[in-house]
Symmetry: C2
Subunit: 345 residues, 2 copies
């Protein structure tokens, strides 16, 4: 099927576009009244994730309501641990909780990986296929998964954490066990992303949400090699985006990844990011999500400043996911400020 | 009183020392059995902070037990909001909680500042005086307070936060109110630190614990000018250390602060920190606190690597406070690895 709007894919591949494409991390969610209406009918967040028709519906809502240049499949990075054998609960206020966690060699041995794990995620592939049909070529569809270190940290901690000291303790005290676990997560993620592509994903993004908690040396040892393996496996199929929040220190090394796009958080200034990454990749980001609390005129100025600072070879986005209490009109202001921008010929 | 061990002050002032001084953030605390014994007798963390004899006792415990080259007064950065008029509770597992928070102009108007606020902290000055007498010149005594942005964020959020979106929203929507609040915090902090110095503090450290949550532009606008004002007020009295966790992006600008020492977290490599700060300040840091979970031989290697990378004009420490479950022997291993180091002549 031909895409009517392929700005995102052209920008990802480094082609010249008339303006930057724009989408927002966590665009399908609580900021939209349409989303809240569906969510209120369901007992549980996971019911939404696991019901392909509903997941497809909320995936498309921001395309209709915000006019963004891409849809991103509504799902959760924690479906991978679950597919590997660790069930989780999603508690409304407290976030995810794993009743069982990974502590020992036997725990790692018991995990499914590769196709065995990916086969448990048919509901995601169905949601992608539904979305693809319903989008009918309007915009590209983004698939995603968590990066291995972030997934490991949830599997070991059992929940979010301020310090991630349990998962970091594993890296310092049982590095060989950590590597075995990272290997299994990586193989499951590769199989999972390949299925996402066959089900309709036009681009895939890796979210390394807890990258910033590691030292540069640990990131080099326990995170980058696994991200690299996933990039190399997916690169022949679709453009890959890597977003490692807080890992500014790894940006120079990330320029060597076999991926097209690098996501940037709001701590890193655009010029610095371009200097570290070099000219050969597209950058994505990086407005502070809290900037969308400001008045529309302030948001427009912030967007203009950001677009000028990034220049071309760029995908406009935030530096992190939208916060649920962001006023909808301010999100629309962000999108239209990007869409009114024109690159000078 | 002459100090028998003035390594810390000489290193802070940029003088040549035979080896780097060493202390650890949060060295007085749960890692020490002596601390836990005292803490168990008390109903509340704040009772310990507010009882000068006991605060002095736990301040000195790590000097006795670990052999560190400095004591840091046992207290809390949240005594300043309390002295300004916002009481807080310290809940054992959940951290601090402010029943009332700052939301409006009237809330800011009602706060005490300067000497009016500092006058409510006599218990800290008494604790410093007690400690100073009991130390009897063994090692220097460090005073401290929170940096204004971090204190503002607690006063607005009412507790810790994952996103700090309430306090950041204030910066984006009510910048003039934020500046008025930051001004009052700054004036209270300056008066407070001056009293700390008259009560015996030989060096003072500013902790900007939530620095990393701001964008470079916001840090430049809402954090650095207030830190700068405090540095300039204190610099004629004692050496000042600024530790802005996560604010790697501000390190080049922090080289202009009127302070002697810059603290570095574990995300920033020593060589990069030195390049950004330049040759004219002492650096302090930066081992990942989780590295102290590793085996002693691994800790010794990590310390050697760190000391070699920082070189002279340096104070050995962690890149963040000690985690309470760190094995005591591993903390001792860290200290003795630093103390056995000798700078080449």
């Amino acid at each position: 099927m031909n895409l009517q709007n392929d700005l995102l894919l052209r920008a990802a591949k480094g082609e010249t576009t008339e303006r930057p494409p724009v989408w927002l991390m966590r665009q399908a969610g609580r900021i939209l009244p349409q989303y809240r209406a569906i969510r209120e009918r369901l007992s549980d967040f996971k019911e939404l994730v696991k019901t392909p028709e509903l997941a497809a519906e909320v995936t498309i809502q921001p395309v209709d309501e915000l006019g963004v240049d891409a849809a991103i499949i509504f799902s959760d990075i924690l479906v991978i641990p679950e597919a590997m054998g660790l069930d989780y609960l999603m508690e409304e206020k407290r976030g995810p909780l794993f009743p069982r966690t990974i502590q020992s060699d036997a725990d790692v041995d018991a995990l499914r990986t590769g196709e065995d794990a990916a086969a448990h995620l048919q509901y995601v592939y169905d949601a992608l296929a539904h979305t693809k049909r319903a989008l009918n070529g309007r915009v590209p569809l983004i698939g995603f998964c968590g990066a291995p270190w972030t997934i490991l940290s949830y599997m070991v901690e059992g929940s979010g954490s301020k310090t991630f000291s349990k998962s970091k303790k594993l890296l310092y005290t049982r590095p060989e066990l950590a590597h075995r676990l990272l290997d299994k997560i990586t193989e499951a993620s590769i199989a999972y992303l390949k299925h996402q592509v066959s089900s309709g994903a036009d681009l895939v993004q890796l979210f390394d949400s807890w990258a910033g908690i590691l030292s540069p040396e640990q990131y080099r040892t326990f995170a980058l090699p696994y991200i690299s393996k996933i990039c190399t496996a997916l690169a022949p199929l679709v453009p890959v985006t890597v977003f490692a929040k807080g890992a500014w220190f790894a940006l120079p090394e990330m320029s060597d990844l076999n991926c097209r796009v690098i996501g940037i958080d709001w701590n890193t200034e655009p010029g610095q990011a371009r200097q570290w990454i070099g000219p050969d990749k597209t950058l994505q980001g990086n407005l502070d999500p809290c900037a969308l609390y400001a008045a529309p005129a302030t948001i427009e100025t912030a967007v203009r400043t950001m677009l000028d600072a990034f220049g071309p070879r760029y995908i406009a986005n935030l530096g992190h996911g939208l916060y649920p209490d962001t006023p909808l009109d301010n999100v629309k202001c962000f999108v239209s400020a990007v869409k009114s921008h024109r690159y000078k010929a």
